[in-house]
Symmetry: C2
Subunit: 102 residues, 2 copies
Amino acid sequence: MSRTLAKTNYTDEEQQIAAFAKALGHPVRIQIVKLLNSQSCCHTGDLTDVIPLAQSTISQHLKALKEAGLIQGEILPPKVKYCIHKANWEKAEALFQGLFNL
Amino acid sequence: MSRTLAKTNYTDEEQQIAAFAKALGHPVRIQIVKLLNSQSCCHTGDLTDVIPLAQSTISQHLKALKEAGLIQGEILPPKVKYCIHKANWEKAEALFQGLFNL
DNA sequence: ATAGTTTATCGTGAAAAAACGATGATTAAC
DNA sequence: GTTAATCATCGTTTTTTCACGATAAACTAT
């Protein structure tokens, strides 16, 4: 079976750092992670108060950050508490540091 | 005149780091900046040898990195020599460092 | 002048991102 | 059981990204 005719040929590290970078590639998401870092955590509602975007839009951005692994959400009915995913955050930090200190 | 009904309200810093992150948000572009950092500089042709993508596609990615300010190109006919834009690279480094050390 | 090399740009198509309103799901409080 | 609150998901539209081939631009070398 011939699959992947066009080889991808990126290292895991390259893909990982690109994924982190992509997740941080929007000013709203920068705002969000900065907020989550300053306060230890916060709810979606807190964000909709601060950010002039529709609630559904903010939810989408949170999903993007979550899928990249940079944040995590704890369901705490009827709210959801979002926090930085510390382990992955530090992983991202290390990757960027490695990239810039070549 | 009413313009900008939906206020943007991002700081320059947030926009700047998001722009840098966005430019780094693709594995090929990570590969490219890594290459440009290891060798001091290189030509587009060198990249097309290493990366299995069409020449026009690579040129597009170089353009994205250039517009973000992370690299610069010196026309050296008939070739173009690409290098890291050192000042902006260090600016990006500082911004990411600031983001991660909150 | 002709031909060759190198790179950017144009035009296109497919896929993903960004934004919104509306709807659903879940739980708390009454 | 109704109602209110909180958040995610769905469906949609618009814009942007990614990739390609083809063409154009610029300079070398013959």
